[in-house]
Subunit: 333 residues, 2 copies
Amino acid sequence: MGLDRAATKPHEQLAQHLANDLESVNALIRQRMASRHAPRIPEVTAHLVEAGGKRLRPMLTLASADLCGYGGAFHVHLAATVEFIHTATLLHDDVVDESQQRRGRPTANLLWDNKSSVLVGDYLFARAFQLMVEPGNLRVLDILSNAAAVIAEGEVLQLSAARDLKTDENVYLQVVRGKTAALFSAATEVGGVIAQAPEEQVKALFDYGDALGIAFQIVDDLLDYQGDSSATGKNVGDDFRERKLTLPVIKAIAAADEDERAFWKRTIEKGDQRDSDLEHALDLLNRHGALEATRQDALGWSAKAKAAMQALPEHPVRQMLIELADYVVARVS
Amino acid sequence: MGLDRAATKPHEQLAQHLANDLESVNALIRQRMASRHAPRIPEVTAHLVEAGGKRLRPMLTLASADLCGYGGAFHVHLAATVEFIHTATLLHDDVVDESQQRRGRPTANLLWDNKSSVLVGDYLFARAFQLMVEPGNLRVLDILSNAAAVIAEGEVLQLSAARDLKTDENVYLQVVRGKTAALFSAATEVGGVIAQAPEEQVKALFDYGDALGIAFQIVDDLLDYQGDSSATGKNVGDDFRERKLTLPVIKAIAAADEDERAFWKRTIEKGDQRDSDLEHALDLLNRHGALEATRQDALGWSAKAKAAMQALPEHPVRQMLIELADYVVARVS
């Protein structure tokens, strides 16, 4: 990391470098979330879109297009598309998970109701598809509609896999690709496609987004067991209490003896949890080196993301994306 | 109606005429609702898709393409797209309305849960967009993604308008276009577009679908107050009990004196309903001729649909579509 950048986080550097484009994206989002007939739509959307998210996904599209020398205006449409798909997914996720908080504020399903979250999410999906049609690029449409299908499939898979002790690392990876990496990789890939970058660069952008998204999600799952709750905004053990089979637990179960298996079966599969169970779970995770192995996996995916960048041309944005891949795992390095 | 057809309903004539295409649509639907990773998806989808719906919407696409002399294969993709959008909408509607029955069977939200209905609905939306991209026709994408937005917007509008006594016939029409007519008109329009029909025929197909959808929904709302429950599968007064402001009630409220307004305010807006209220409501609807005026509106939209067909060429399918416009209002004629 260059000395002059040490004070700034890489996503902030990107935001600064892409400030004009990001402003266009925000303007387009505000314009397209309007509804002449149903004021409920912009109310619900604004609550989420303007809650101070980092706009990480749309920035990946803008950055990828910029890195490949794109000179047109349609990367803005695609970035807004990506943010709309993300926002729609969050609205539906919060209904499915019965969440009460998101980005430090009450969720839309709590402030309004589940109906509004479901239907406004549908509206944003439809608006996303309208936006992605506008550049008139069929390959972009193919990539983004595929991503939307993978996202939904991952979410459904998670419904059945979440509390099933048979869930292995392969299934976990499919779920993670669905819930996080598919939109990251689509975001970077369409940036390259719209810029008509050479095929190997497009492929590298896909690989970068895929690996970055997976690293991002693994870190999230790891911090749930060893994070500083004041920094993560989550309590240690939330996933355990919600009986989610994340990577650390999957690794611990793979190494479990009979007694330990019975413990995981009771606490995760049956949901019969007692006061000291979280402590015992953490003990098992440490005993089998599951947290350390998970950490190594996250670092491995981050390294893959950085390696993919080698196929892209020298460019200030390339350096920022490399630093971003370091940054997403910095909290566990 | 020709004598030889008197025994057959027009949608059955269409199904017979389009049998090969419909079989291709069904095969494509089965293929695309599969999910390698999440078996819950085809389970939930099959429950609804194979429950014996009439496939009215996909038939409209096939019929329109046929009527305009289309010789390709992509009308099958577009018809399957239309059915997927319809199915996704039904899944989400049943969650929003907390419905327990659909097509005479328990709803998916009841058999599985709301989560599955929301996420499988999202999956089908995404699959619909994948399918519609395949013909590579940008105008088709524009029409169908617009329709998806109008549908979602209409549903959100209905949330706020349903129990609001200020809802007038214009708002009602917007809601009806969203919940029903937008997909009908998109279904017919894309059939013409994919067949590269002349602009005036495409416009006429849109107008036909729009008017047919509106007539269809008005009849549905009318039958709720005067239908034969053994034929409609609904009880008389369901909409009243659910406090829905449909066209008959909107007309009665527009003609209401002060006492009557207070009655509607109490029963619909506040939801304070007593035993004899439905009877009184029916009395008011008849006193102001609201049911008869609603019936006339439905017949008017049916006539508009038939008139639009004049711009299309002589063809057996044209006659069937004309008879279909008669058929949707036959139960109130």
